[in-house]
């Protein structure tokens, strides 16, 4: 019997040699060994346009069977109704024990709309705060005590290094550019106050309120009052800030946990000093939300090989693959069972365990059916307006809210 070939678009390339590439290669090999009637053909894509292309090519009938979807663009996938329902072939078959094994149970609800499971999570990533353990130690700061934004600003001040009136190292990096945006501290603080929510009914953004003003002023204060972040933060993207952190120019930064490896590898300082801390909050009672995202697999609705495709997706997103994603892939496991394995008890995996703990405490997903991605940019614009344009925080937030509303 001729093998059925299932095409998959991903930003990885199993023919190459990064840890994740190797993981995918192994996963495919394992799968093909177990399912000789199915061949997996990978077409490697540029990650940033992958989802859009998947959706558009679906429209023109040239879509692959499986597409990887980046979390930020999940709204596009779901709203455009491109994907096949993965409930019946995968999730509906799960038993309670299986569900219990999930690190991020909310993810599946998040991916479900109108009873249809649009995609399956492959790897989960959240925005976390990286900090320099070594510098904190030097300054005598106990990271566990940095629970409030005030404490955060204090700590940042302490690890900031100035020489001749010039800043050699900023306390914290802020990525407040309106390009390539993700959750800023202000957004985190705002969401924390609103129970992890940024959107209300009918995708109405909840920005222009007292909480928003407070969050915004806290963030701007880091630049203008505490002066622990660069005034150029308004043009920095997340990548810029992470690089500054890696270079040692910044002591605390936001970053996707997925960056752990590359930061550790390229750091201009001892990589042992790399740590992750929970988000502060205003009252310090609970940590700020862990905004989750990551990569997901969707099967094209029009694929003639839905069944085979779903089979592979099930495997690729299942516990067995999760192990490979963790080793060699270096991803934080999305099945608890992975942590149970002996080889993942090593100290090198401590941070993953820690992070999984944070996720459990503060897992948050943005509503996928809202056009939410650029709301963070709107918030950044608001931040810029307040600092540079002398607009009142409330007005700035109102404008942001309107901008978001116009987008829905």
């Amino acid at each position: 019997q001729a093998a059925e070939t299932v095409t998959m678009w991903t930003f990885l390339n199993p023919e190459k040699d990064s840890p994740r590439d190797r993981a995918l290669r192994q996963i495919i090999e394992n799968f093909e060994a177990a399912n000789p009637e199915i061949d997996i053909a990978v077409e490697s894509q540029v990650w940033s346009t992958l989802t859009e292309k998947f959706v558009v090519s679906h429209r023109s009938g040239t879509a692959p069977d499986i597409g990887w979807i980046v979390g930020e663009a999940m709204g596009l996938l779901i709203n455009s109704d491109t994907a096949a329902d993965l409930g019946p072939p995968i999730a509906d078959k799960w038993d309670a024990a299986y569900r219990e094994n999930l690190v991020l149970p909310q993810a599946y609800d998040w991916l479900t709309k109108d009873g249809k499971l649009h995609a399956m999570p492959i790897m989960a990533i959240s925005l976390v705060l990286f900090y320099r353990k070594d510098l904190f130690a030097e300054a005598g700061i106990d990271v566990a005590k940095v629970k409030t934004w005030d404490a955060f600003a204090d700590a940042a001040k302490k690890v900031q290094l100035e020489k001749d009136g010039r800043v050699e190292r900023w306390g914290t990096g802020l990525h407040l550019s309106t390009e390539k945006t993700t959750m800023s501290p202000a957004a985190n603080a705002l969401m924390a106050q609103q129970g992890g929510r940024l959107f209300g009914e009918k995708c109405k953004a909840m920005l222009a309120n007292e909480d928003g003003v407070r969050a915004l002023q806290m963030q701007n204060g880091l630049i203008t009052e505490a002066k622990v972040a660069s005034p150029e933060s308004f043009v920095y993207t997340l990548d810029d800030v992470i690089e500054q952190f890696t270079a040692g120019k910044v002591a605390i930064t936001t970053a996707g946990n997925s960056r752990y490896g590359s930061i550790a590898q390229k750091a201009g300082w001892d990589a042992a000093g790399l740590g992750i801390m929970p988000w502060p909050s205003f009252d310090g009672t609970a940590p700020g939300p862990q905004l989750l995202s990551g990569w997901f697999a969707a099967v094209s609705k029009d694929s003639p090989r839905k069944e085979a495709a779903a089979k592979f997706v099930a495997y690729m997103t299942g516990p067995e693959a999760a192990e490979l994603w963790t080793d060699p892939g270096g991803q934080v496991p999305i099945y608890k069972s992975v942590f149970a394995q002996a080889k993942f008890q090593a100290p090198a995996y401590d941070w993953m365990r820690e992070l999984a703990g944070m996720w459990a405490a503060a897992e948050v997903w943005l509503p996928p059916d809202c056009n939410a991605t650029r709301t963070f940019a709107d918030l950044n614009t608001a931040s810029q307006k307040v600092v540079l344009g002398e607009v009142s925080p409330m007005d700035a937030l109102k404008a942001a809210e309107e901008a978001t509303a116009a987008r829905q």
Binding site: F11, Q45, V46, R169, G248, S258, Q265, A267
Partner: protein, 275 residues
Amino acid sequence: MLARPVRRLLDVGVSALIVTVALFPILWGFLSSFKPSAEIVSFPPRLFPSTITFEHYRAIYDTGILHYLLNSFLVSAGTIALCLACGTIGAYALARFSFRGKTLVTLVIIMVMSIPIPSLLIPTFTWISDLGLINTRLALVLVYTAYQLPFVIWILATYYQSLPEELEWSAAIDGYGKLATLWKIVLPLSWPGMVAATLFVITFAWNDFVVAVVLLSSEETRTLPIGIYNYLGFYGRDWGPLLAAAMVSIVPLLAIFLVLQRYFVAGMTGGSVKG
């Protein structure tokens, strides 16, 4: 007029300034492409690598940059060939014939150049898919040509108009038809215009990312800019290979320029007509 030595000095000074301004950012990138990864983004930045490493060049070689180069080369060559083939005859018509609708054609040229390319991407994708050309290099060639052709025609037509028409008359008398005249007389005399047009088209085709990323979807057809862009990865920017690839991508274009630059000569029509 200034004394000679002063002029010389001024020349050298201005030249140095030009070179510095133009080259400094590139030099920065060039030197960085030989630094170990950790050193590239280190702070404080350092101009020269502490140790010279070729790891980034090896890395891009391993990711198959040669294949990307080949694709880019094919696409660029195809684009320039098509642009010049259609451009020369089109420009000739525009420069030398008077016909109804000439203004309209001029307007079309301006119109095409006026359209912001991003707004065409989605329809182009759909349309190219319908044509069954998606993920082919041919599609890129056609689309690039479509974007650049108006400009090529405009440059060439302007250049043709600056040539003495008597030479074409003479060729006609000597028994050459319009196309033969274009080929034997007009083209050889419009080298500077052709060089300029070629350079612009190739630079566009060689560096385009936006269209390529939309129309191409396999490793097989991937062009160099996509290869470069890929180093702006999901897991962070890979400055080393990114810069290495960018440096490599400059080389062919510069080589082409240096070769074509020979044809940048003045007074090509000297001695041809009185008047």
